[in-house]
């Protein structure tokens, strides 16, 4: 074991405490401010009230933005799930020339800064497709999101496929099942939990994304993060932004929780 003096131990614990304080104080300040009665956020909070929560509940722009976020994230999730799974199967079952390049290509959309990805899409849409008479509009945003979500599904499915026993598929083929039948009855049930976890993480990633969205959202369309972005830019930062931000924190915990549960279920399946 690592033996440390009392003093070193104390210093270590202080550093850990400081890190936790640093990571959680801002979130608590934000959440508490969503109950701030005043229009302008600040500290200390003088009067608590749920007035901004009630206001946000029926505020149409927030509802529209939430709907857009869910639509975009769902679209991106569906596309990324299909493409990521196909990639995972190809990378797991075959050794081929350029395999490491393909690996880089999958990671690239998330490895390059969001601004580069966003500007690249925006440039293609407005300087190349638009002059050619093609306006992707809403779908352009989904295309961009799907592209950087692929890696989420790929990582999850690939990790599971690597641990799977290939003789089950061979047995299925020996017994006369076709490829699709084998996939449906033998392969898919084995990796469906990782598939679902990957899809959920893709949804969460898209739901949270803002930089690429800024450059690919059609005019007048807001996702939830875009709506927050516009409101924060205004001089009187209304406390209603803090309500929406708190909701985003709570919502983003759902996929993480569910994917954790799925991972545990997968452990038990084995």
């Amino acid at each position: 074991m690592l033996r440390l003096s009392r003093l070193t131990r104390f210093i270590l614990i202080s550093i850990v405490g400081f890190i936790l304080l640093f990571m959680y104080t801002p979130l608590f300040v934000l959440i508490l401010n969503s109950f701030n009665e005043s229009q302008i956020s600040g500290w200390p909070i003088e009067n608590f009230s749920t007035k901004w929560w009630i206001f946000a509940k029926d505020y149409q722009p927030i509802r529209d933005a939430l709907l857009n976020s869910v639509l975009v994230a769902s679209g991106a999730m569906v596309i990324a799930s299909i493409l990521g799974t196909l990639f995972a199967f190809a990378m797991k079952s075959f050794d081929f020339f350029g395999k490491s390049t393909v690996n880089i290509l999958i990671v690239l959309p998330i490895a390059l800064p969001g601004i580069v990805t966003g500007v690249a899409f925006s440039n293609t849409y407005s300087n190349f497709l638009s002059p050619a008479g093609i306006n992707l509009g809403y779908f352009g945003m989904i295309v961009a999101h799907a592209t950087f979500c692929i890696v989420m599904v790929f990582n999850n499915v690939f990790a599971r496929l690597r641990r799977m026993n290939p003789s089950l598929q061979e047995a299925s083929a020996d017994l006369g099942a076709g490829l699709w039948q084998t996939f449906r009855l033998v392969t898919f049930p084995q990796f469906r939990t990782s598939f679902a976890a990957g899809a959920l993480l893709a949804f969460a990633l898209s739901f949270d994304e803002v930089v690429v969205t800024i450059f690919t959202a059609p005019p007048g369309i807001d996702t939830l993060p875009l709506w927050i972005l516009k409101e924060v830019g205004r001089p009187n930062q209304a406390s209603v932004v803090n309500v929406v931000a708190t909701v985003v924190i709570l919502l983003s915990l759902i996929p993480v929780y569910v994917s954790q549960r799925l991972a545990r279920a997968q452990e038990e399946e084995r």
């Binding site: 074991m1 690592l2 033996r3 440390l4 003096s5 270590l12 550093i15 850990v16 890190i19 990571m23 104080t25 801002p26 979130l27 300040v29 934000l30 956020s41 600040g42 500290w43 299909i82 196909l86 990639f87 079952s93 075959f94 393909v102 290509l105 999958i106 690239l108 490895a111 390059l112 800064p113 969001g114 601004i115 580069v116 500007v119 690249a120 925006s122 440039n123 300087n127 295309v143 799907a146 592209t147 020996d174 006369g176 099942a177 076709g178 490829l179 969460a204 949270d208 994304e209 930089v211 800024i214 993060p225 927050i228 972005l229 924060v232 931000a245 924190i249 983003s252 915990l253 993480v256």
Partner: protein, 293 residues
């Protein structure tokens, strides 16, 4: 033999595919590769091409051509050079701070904390990753604003925060990306066999010497892997600077300002962060730690 004849008769496509690995590989890769290359790589390539174009001063529309004006602009205008250097220094500082905090945290979690504390800390470090990028920037803004939490909490000590400026941008970026460093470093420290510590202390090394001479060399690959994230994510960011930096500009700020006014300049300037990241990856690769990522 029997089964094969059956499957051949009833499932011509399946048995055809089963025998031809190349066709199977192709049919798996066709769709996702078309997407990634056709949508993304082509877009990056078009961005590079646009960097050589011009904006017509009269119609203010982008017009195709070939000139190096935009690159010259990006590489010679003092404000652009200063922004590139500032962004680079911010990204490096963020990375350094992340390392300085991730190592003691990792040592505590992996080697000192009781199992339940360790698990709790692992969750506590991971959760903020998903709490929403923009949400975290707003949260930092609330803490460091003039009438904010920091100035309130520090008032009894007579300390006032610097207001929205470069140091707060660095703090915000550290806040955003710290888990990307903390998690691999913690995992690496956990994998160090305990008898190495025994050996080190048997030979008379004190705790600090052990950390310095035993732990650190073993976790360098994890630190580099984490730094690729903290560095490249900080380098491309501009919303942290916009909301917690006051007048601070980063590379992303200038790209974002230009994308509608002058797309070719934005395109040329986008090559700077790509260049920095490629150089960083090459340096990281020389240390041989990327293979183990």
């Amino acid at each position: 033999m029997m089964t094969e004849t059956i499957s051949k008769q009833s499932r011509p496509l399946s048995s055809f595919l089963l025998r031809r690995a190349k066709v199977r590989l192709f049919s798996l890769l066709a769709l996702p590769m078309t997407w990634i290359v056709g949508v993304y790589i082509v877009s990056l390539f078009l961005l590079l091409i646009t960097a050589f174009w011009n904006v017509d001063p009269f119609t203010s529309r982008v017009s195709p051509g070939f000139n190096l004006d935009n690159f010259e602009l990006v590489l010679t205008v003092p404000a652009y050079i200063a922004t590139s250097i500032r962004t680079l220094l911010i990204a490096l500082t963020v990375t350094l701070i992340c390392i300085l905090f991730a190592v003691p945290l990792g040592i505590y979690m992996a080697k000192i904390a009781k199992p339940w504390v360790r698990n709790l800390l692992a969750v506590a470090i991971t959760l903020p990753l998903w709490a929403g990028y923009l949400v975290k920037i707003i949260a930092m803004r609330l803490v460091f604003t003039e009438e904010g939490f920091f100035n309130w909490a520090m008032a009894p000590f007579g300390i006032r925060g610097p207001g929205f400026s470069v140091p707060i941008v660095i703090l915000t970026l550290t806040y955003l990306w710290f888990p990307y460093m903390a998690l691999p470093v913690y995992t690496a420290i956990r994998q160090i066999p305990p008898n190495l510590f025994d050996a080190s202390s048997d030979m008379g090394a004190k705790g600090f010497t052990t950390v310095n001479r035993v732990v650190f060399p073993l976790i360098v690959p994890a630190v580099i892997a984490g730094s690729v994230f903290t560095f490249s994510l900080s380098l491309g960011d501009y919303l942290a600077a916009r909301f917690t930096g006051g007048a601070t500009q980063m590379i992303g700020s200038i790209i974002a300002q230009n994308i509608n006014l002058n797309p070719p300049v934005a395109a040329a300037y986008s090559m700077i962060p790509i260049l920095f990241i490629v150089i960083y990856l090459m340096v990281a690769r020389r240390t041989g730690s990327l293979e183990r990522m």
